[in-house]
């Protein structure tokens, strides 16, 4: 057992331990800092805050003083809901066809559908702006919705395909051999089994739409302001401490949603696979 405590192994434990702790601090620290900052009674972003108050939350929830933020948040929610719906429907249909196919065209399509993950979003945002402008469309929430749907499809495809690849083919065969139609098998066997994967993907897609900057930056107009773009404006001009309050609301909501999704679909397992 003397090997276990050799100097080399102790240096391993020390180095890996220190770096991993640093990673944890870097990951979690900013979230805690923002939460605490949102309760400051100061007009600046001094940390730690000199005193605690709820004034920035009060101002954020004030219907008249923060009207534009509320408008932008509602727009973002509406776009996220529609684009997630579209991406989930089309994405699941495509996954059903592509997940088990080894054909060359299927692999190529799969690569195409996944490419928005690594394609620079800003290049696509600019391209979409010019494309819609030349087609004669004016900036609107519908255009943003279409752009978001394209960008978030890979998230649905990935989790749904992962669930499908774990689906036991014997189940589908027995369903078919018992005389069930393709659609009946889909409805009663396939979908119930892969539903957690679909929901996990839809959740990630929804959050990605809420968070999207590159597409919204180019496609939003004065009448279709989106939350991240408005927050960016608030950070660029004068450092508005309301951004901290928005962040506080955001972080709390995300933590609640994550706990909920973990309960319902086992989010951590879906994401890890």
């Amino acid at each position: 057992m003397s090997r276990r405590h050799s100097p080399s192994d102790m240096s391993y434990t020390l180095v890996i331990g220190v770096l991993a702790s640093l990673a944890l601090v870097i990951l979690v620290g900013p979230v805690l800092v923002v939460l605490l900052t949102s309760f400051t009674d100061n007009r600046s972003l001094k940390f730690p805050p000199t005193g605690l108050s709820l004034q920035w939350y009060a101002e954020l929830f004030d219907a008249t003083r923060s009207r534009q933020i509320h408008r932008a948040a509602l727009n973002s929610l509406e776009v996220a809901a529609w684009s997630t719906g579209l991406a989930t429907l089309f994405g699941t249909m495509a996954a059903l066809a592509l997940a088990r196919s080894e054909a060359r065209w299927a692999r190529m399509l799969d690569t195409l559908f996944m490419s928005p993950m690594i394609l620079p979003g800003l290049a696509f945002g600019l391209a979409a702006l010019m494309y819609f402008t030349f087609l004669g469309f004016r900036p609107s929430l519908n255009l943003i919705m279409v752009g978001h749907a394209i960008v978030i499809v890979p998230l649905v495809l990935r989790t749904t395909s992962a669930s499908l690849s774990q689906l036991d083919a014997a189940l589908l065969e027995s369903s078919a051999s018992l005389g069930a139609s393709w659609f009946y098998t889909l409805r009663r066997v396939t979908l119930p089994i892969i539903a957690p994967g679909i929901f996990a993907g839809a959740f990630l897609a929804f959050m990605a739409s809420i968070d999207n900057v590159p597409v919204s930056l180019f496609l939003s107009g004065p009448r279709s302001d989106m939350l991240p773009i408005r927050l960016w404006g608030m950070m660029e001009s004068t450092l508005d401490v309301r951004v901290a309050a928005v962040s506080g609301v955001f972080i709390t909501t995300v933590i609640c949603l994550m706990l909920l999704m973990e309960r319902v679909v086992g989010l951590t397992k879906r994401i890890r696979d």
């Binding site: 180095v15 991993a20 620079p120 391209a127 989010l267």
Partner: protein, 295 residues
């Protein structure tokens, strides 16, 4: 019925008349991608081949202007450099965290995954804002540095490359960790135990067993981080400020401030090509590593 017969019955059109063909299921998404993905990218390429801002004269003046100017080359170089610095930083602290993850029990693993996903799901704008609070003149880091007496005056961290890389390390780390955790989790723990039983030190096991086997996840993480950090417009413009110019800022200025769409398209295509070149380099690097593994 034998499984083979069942499979034949499953794919036979006569038994299941309502079964749609695979192409029918893919068609809606494929059409949407042609109309709203391929179409726009084609327009991007077309617009870049115009000489003037009114988009009336065809020519490659914008390309020659862009590629003939040392300033733009510096912007391209800085953008690629930022991507690789972020990849290096996320790898340096992310990989050890992934090692701790595979050595932990199931409960701790779930907590760690939560910790990794939380920043991923809290908006990029929120994460960027957090780093302004941390890196600012009156921020957390300066508070600690001054209190410990490491520096006589507040350090300048905002609007520096160092500050931006630190912030991007947190902002992009989940993208590095998720593929890594997935691949590391699938490596048979017996291999590590066997390596230790045969007398290898923990370092040797890391470099000769775990690291080579995790290469696919590692490369996937590097690609995601590289692609995301080079195009992280909000973080770059807020933390980097106007002193540090990267391709995304250039694209934004040229298209939405100056309204020079051809030049913006040239910059966007350059970003696209730079990112693709970086991804190809990372993939080749990974392939070489894996070939080495099979020898």
């Amino acid at each position: 019925m034998t499984p083979a017969a069942a499979r034949a019955g499953c794919s036979g059109g006569t038994r299941l008349p309502l079964r749609p063909a695979e192409w029918q299921l893919v068609l809606p998404l494929a059409l949407a991608f042609v109309a709203f993905f391929a179409g726009p990218l084609l327009i991007l390429a077309v617009v870049s081949a115009f000489d003037n801002e009114q988009i009336t004269t065809v020519g490659f003046a914008m390309w020659t202007k862009f590629l003939g100017d040392p300033f733009y080359w510096k912007v391209i170089g800085d953008t690629v450099k930022l991507g690789f610095l972020t990849v290096g930083a996320t790898l340096l602290v992310g990989y050890p965290l992934a090692l701790v993850y595979i050595a932990s029990g199931p409960w701790m693993q779930r907590v760690l995954i939560f910790v990794v996903i939380l920043p991923l799901l809290t908006s990029v704008v929120v994460r960027t804002f957090a780093w302004i609070v941390i890196l600012g003149r009156e921020g957390v880091i300066n508070h600690v540095v001054l209190w410990l007496g490491f520096a006589p005056a507040p350090l300048r961290l905002l609007q520096t490359e160092l500050g931006l890389v630190i912030a991007l390390t947190q902002i992009e780390m989940p993208l590095m960790l998720l593929p890594l955790l997935s691949v590391l989790g699938r490596i048979d723990p017996n291999l590590r135990d066997a390596s230790a039983a045969l007398g290898a030190s923990k370092w040797r096991t890391l470099f000769q067993v775990t690291l080579p086997l995790s290469l696919p996840g590692l490369i996937a993480g590097c690609i995601l981080v590289f692609a995301s950090s080079t195009t992280a417009f909000i973080s770059q413009s807020i933390i980097g400020g106007n002193r540090l110019v990267y391709l995304p800022l250039l694209i934004w200025q040229q298209s939405l401030v100056v309204y020079n769409w051809p030049l913006a398209s040239v910059a966007a295509l350059t970003l696209l090509l730079s990112v693709s070149a970086g991804i190809v380099a990372l993939t080749l690097f990974g392939r070489r590593g894996m070939r080495h593994l099979h020898v």
